[in-house]
Amino acid sequence: MKKLLVLTGFFLCGAAPRGLPAQQPAQLDAFKKEAAAEVDKLQAFTQQIVDEIFSFSELGFQEFETSRYLTGLLEKNGFRVERGVAGIPTAWVATSGSGKPVIAFITDIDCIPRASQKPGVAYHDPIVEGAPGHGEGHNSGMAVNLTAALVLKRSMEEHHLAGTLKIFPGVAEELLGTKAFYVRAGLFKDVDLVLGVHVSDRFATSYATGKGNGSGLVSVQYFFHGRAAHCGVRAVGRAQCAGRRGTDGHRLGLSAGASAAAAALTSRDPQRRRPA
């Protein structure tokens, strides 16, 4: 495959002046211009995906309508789809093309509890009171990725470009719930690079830690089991607090498990909590 790729690259560079390093294949700019023009032709397709996923408004791990819709669209457009990957019912991988490089697109698809809102209305006006809604704009990422993927697929076929495209959904990103499982399941083993997209009010990219405003975390639930009792009969747990000083000088606090036990045995002690 590597050889094929090199040959393809060589062929594409054929028009470049002799003796210069193969920095910029002559066709690259033309192909990019053509791709941008093709994306413009798909504006209605893009808009429909944005609007459709917005209307589904599905929370993390429950993106059934969304995934059915997207995988249907992808299959209709000639992508091979594998469903239920990494043991997650709403996760899938769509693939097109063959050989190297393998480029993966990924973007989230889940929404936010209680964020239901009529679009285009500049005040709070839910579509369904109390319902989930796309209050982070994860309804738009797949419009970006599918539009680009369709255009690329055509371009690669037409111009005989070697390479594989893979599309992944970010399931339950709001719960930070799946991508470590994708990795563990080996879904990126043969992938060369990942182009992820995320909605923003900015047009931007970054590298390394960006502006240094990232963090990681584990999300953990604790379950306490005891005996039921009449209030006042059993001892009451007390909320306590512990904290530690983070390397950045910020105080990263966590309220102690004692408050968890308090929650387990009484619901009266307010949980003292500091945001991390």
């Binding site: 990019k32 995320h198 990232g214 604790y222 209030c231 498990g257 009484t266």
Partner: protein, 263 residues
């Protein structure tokens, strides 16, 4: 967050549950907080004569993006540029910003310069793409499909998301996405350079270890009840593109709908 705090004050429940995020800026410190949380939970259980078990329901490495890809992508972002917003788009943006008491400045009209990483990591948002970014060269492109100065994770952030703002922003994003992929398809040396950066810079001293234990499973049952409660109502409003050109049209919403004329 108290997941299960009982039913009423004079009934001491037999079961209780709490949910924590242990957030930090690097893997060792997150592991340390996680271990501390487990110790505290055990101690609390001992103190109160209960037993405790725990479940990891989510995790994320702090993200780290690839310089080679970001530099290629930046050129494409600059070539595509921010969409041309209409007066209606700007009116919606300004009216929403005013409504929620945010700085009123409409939509952004210029692309951002390539963000240089700051020397000091101060901590902030998490995204589970972090785990992917420590396994192979990865970037996240931010495309302009929403209104600035919003609180995040709430209804104001949904306002623009099925309007021409989101549609145009997604089209612009798709162009950059396709163009960047073409750069790497036609210039295999860039793929190699991206891996060189990944191997020789990013992961020179830091090696990925998953937060997942061998018994951890995806929390696929989460949100099931919450979603089932609303699906019958939401279904009535699913978008039907065979009948309506846009969702705004289907919902009969005049664009933009604002409380009063904004300057």
């Amino acid at each position: 967050m108290i997941l299960n705090g009982g039913d009423q004050p004079n009934v001491v429940p037999s079961e209780g549950a709490v949910w924590y995020f242990f957030r930090e800026i690097d893997y060792p410190h997150i592991k340390e907080l996680y271990a501390l949380g487990n110790t505290m939970a055990e101690a609390a259980a001992t103190m109160t004569g209960t037993t405790v078990d725990h479940r990891l329901v989510g995790s994320a490495w702090p993200f780290f993006f690839n310089k080679v890809i970001a530099e290629v992508q930046q050129k494409n972002i600059e070539a595509v540029g921010v969409p041309k917003w209409s007066e209606a788009d700007q009116t919606l943006a300004r009216a929403l910003q005013k409504e929620i008491g945010a700085k009123v400045e409409g939509l952004k009209e210029k692309v951002e310069p390539l963000e240089e990483p700051s020397k000091e990591v101060t901590g902030g948002v998490s995204d589970d793409v972090g785990d992917i970014s420590w396994n192979l060269p990865t970037v996240y492109m931010f495309y302009p499909a929403n209104i600035p100065n919003l609180p995040g994770h709430s209804w104001p952030n949904a306002v623009a998301m099925a309007t021409p703002i989101a549609h145009k922003g997604s089209t612009a994003g798709a162009k950059v996405q396709a163009m960047t992929a073409l750069d790497f398809l036609l210039r295999p040396e860039l793929v190699q350079q991206a891996w060189d950066y990944f191997r020789n810079v990013q992961t020179k001293d830091v090696h990925y270890e998953s937060f997942l234990g061998p018994d951890d499973r995806p929390a696929i049952e989460m949100n099931k009840e919450k979603m089932e409660k609303f699906v019958p109502d939401l279904k009535k409003y699913y978008y039907d593109p065979s009948r309506y050109k846009t969702y705004l049209e289907q919902m009969g919403i005049r664009y933009p709908t604002v409380k009063s004329a904004t300057p």
